[in-house]
Symmetry: C2
Subunit: 431 residues, 2 copies
């Protein structure tokens, strides 16, 4: 996209976000500054958001652990926020050595207000006055990602995907043309190229598809920033931080609304991307009494433990010899991150005691293959194409879940990559 | 001093400041927390001020240098402020593991307002509301030293002696009983014990004497925090951070008003402490025209270059064969830090050109021995005792300057330690 220097300021404004690996060393900070400088000299008004350098966060957490403070969430936030503060100062310095006027801003200085909830605060408001003033003065604001300030003045951090969320929130607040997320991959692919060699880079993908793909295992973007982008209507471009030819408004994958995403595809396919999710833990509750309140009893306790549930599948079981007066029971299956399984055990046991019947089983060796595409709403046969592909590949399907724009199959983990390639092939997504 | 838990809150409140070497490792942070905890369980309300851990500041400056940003003072401040932010978080964590409720506060969160002058901002005001609220809630505020915030929201640092200054400023704002500066020495001595083995620890010293001693080379306390303590009437106790028996209100040296300082000494001596200052550069301007405006011409230019002048000595010279009509000239001698000499050369040359006469000489190999004592105002013969001691030791005196409470002699640098011991001995300061 050619930038028109006479366009309205907002139309010339972009947000660029660089992750920790892009600023891991002083040399990389300088390389990063050159990329920003190129956008500025190309006529863009640029706001930069950066993460902490390389392993800084881990090093800081090690210090916290050494004084027994890892569970002191307020102080962990105060501690971790220093990581980004170092990056912004260094990047602002590096820009100035390239004769690009720049000014570093902490979360607080950039006006990022959050809830008072340490470790995973949500942004409540962005007071963009300072940011706008710096842009109007011709300076590049370099903003600390991942952090904000509660109304009390306390430092908060935003949790996983926090820096991307900062970038999208700022882009929304200043009505930027787009938010560019620089990463170590070229963009969003039709499948993970490490698993599917023929995977193809997508020029565009809709927010909805990206959300489904991310929740089904595509790891490039965190759900939260995509959700925020969708809500605020901020186009998000995912690009490679080191690759030549990637630049403001060009290259990578644009995550945008469905109408814009569809424009670029002559033959819109039913499926846009396929994903594989591993590290799945499956909990099966069998022979539960089929009566109102059972599900709520289960998931209330799981939620109270702070565990996120992925898929939920339930079906009723008629008693053997229907009409014999035996009670109907139900089987309830749900998946969680494998790491949450140890905590799930006691919760499930407690539920079964309360319900007075049923038994539980936990499975580890599973993965989930998903096909995602906004086009599948209008094209029949997507599910059967997928099942056929898996059958031809000799893959057993353990569970199936569907949404309007995705079909997911739980399969044995060992078959995961093979299943992914078969589905990718079946939908003609390769090069 | 026994703390009365029923005393007014302010009377039970102390500020404790720990330097970078006291918090250099997680183990030292925990040791530091134990000292704070002892004061709290002893009934004190404690505010803690800390510096950055060990070599953190140097490491951060190395990063800044690597991106060519050392001269970007705003960003250097943004960068360096992270050092103290790490320390406060860790110390607050460590206190909590000892069951002492604590809360870390950055300079901004602690309400420390400064000028917008990066690298050496002065504190303009302390908004102590949060600090008081935390103390009233029974928590120990752990405050980042060395930093503050300008009215613009920009991060500033206070420059040399900054953390001590933070501690004294907070003590003044909350009307603390005293401000304790924990260091790696036992307190203030009658002379530097590394140079004078018989030097004795002083229980008390007046602000005025401490200021003279510090400006004459005693390195324990920075002038600035002592000045602030004097102005605000905050007693400052200098103690050893690792030594047993040092605790809130006990041990070390109390820097206080003259009346209080005198109370503790049965036989107040004329001289309290002697000091040696090395790294002196001496500039001699000879045969300057003796007319109004000469001195101002010289020192205006020196001040414009940001160079601090230590002593100034001037004397007039009658022309040889007085009454022959020759003009009187004057010799102007001043001392500066040796490191400033390279900058002084061109300034002096420019001045001589403007004045139209005179010549300059620069000397390096000099040191200054000083005797400091509020008692010398009422006791005659201090100067002559000092000169006699130096004569007996065979030390040549190059220049002499005096103030109401000190006598200083510039001597060859090689003779410095010997001269210091001779003067210390002559005033009977040893054990």
């Amino acid at each position: 996209m050619v930038v028109n220097a006479k366009a309205q300021p907002a139309a010339r404004t972009i947000v660029q976000k660089y992750g920790g690996s892009s600023v891991a060393t002083p040399a990389k900070v300088l390389a990063c500054a050159q990329r920003v400088a190129a956008a500025v000299t190309g006529g863009s008004r640029v706001v930069v958001v950066v993460s902490a350098m390389g392993d800084t966060t881990d090093e800081l957490l090690a210090l916290a652990q050494a004084v027994g403070g890892l569970d002191n969430k307020r102080e962990v936030d105060q501690l971790l926020a220093t990581g980004e503060q170092v990056s912004i100062a260094l990047l602002a310095m590096a820009l100035k050595t390239l004769n690009i006027p720049a000014v570093s801003l902490t979360g607080r200085q950039a006006g990022i207000g959050t809830e008072l909830r340490h470790g995973r605060a949500r942004i409540t408001d962005v007071e963009a006055g300072r940011l706008e003033a710096e842009l109007d003065a011709g300076r590049v604001p370099v903003v600390a990602g991942f952090q904000g300030t509660a109304a009390t003045g306390d430092t908060t951090t935003l949790g996983r995907g926090g820096s991307d969320t900062t970038a999208v929130a700022l882009a929304a607040a200043i009505k930027a043309r787009e938010c560019e997320i620089y990463t170590d991959v070229d963009g969003i692919y039709t499948a993970d190229p490490r698993l599917v060699p023929g995977a193809r880079l997508l020029a565009r993908i809709s927010y909805e598809e990206m959300l489904e793909a991310a929740s089904q295992g595509a790891q490039v973007m965190h759900l939260r920033s995509v959700e925020l982008g969708m809500k605020a209507g901020v186009p998000i471009r995912v690009l490679h931080a080191q690759r030549a030819g990637m630049q403001a408004g060009v290259g990578g994958t644009l995550i945008c609304d469905l109408a814009t995403a569809n424009q670029s595809m002559e033959h819109r396919k039913a499926v846009t991307t396929v994903a594989l999710k591993t590290d799945i833990g499956r909990v099966s509750l069998e022979d539960l009494p089929s009566r109102p309140g059972v599900q709520s009893e289960v998931f209330k306790r799981v939620a109270q433990a702070g565990i996120s549930v992925d898929d939920i599948i339930q079906h009723e079981v008629e008693p053997i010899g229907a009409g014999t007066g035996g009670e109907r029971t139900c089987n309830l299956v749900f998946t969680v991150d494998r790491g949450d399984l140890p905590e799930i055990g006691p919760i499930v046991e407690a539920v079964l005691r309360v319900l007075g019947s049923g038994r539980s089983r936990v499975d580890l060796g599973l993965a989930k293959v998903s096909a995602v595409g906004a086009g599948m709403q209008s094209q029949p046969g997507v599910a059967s194409t997928m099942f056929g592909a898996l059958a031809d590949a000799g893959v057993t399907i353990a569970n199936i879940t569907t949404s309007e724009i995705k079909v997911s199959c739980i399969v044995p983990e060992a078959d995961g990559p093979r299943a992914l390639r078969a589905v990718h092939e079946a939908f003609g997504l390769g090069r």
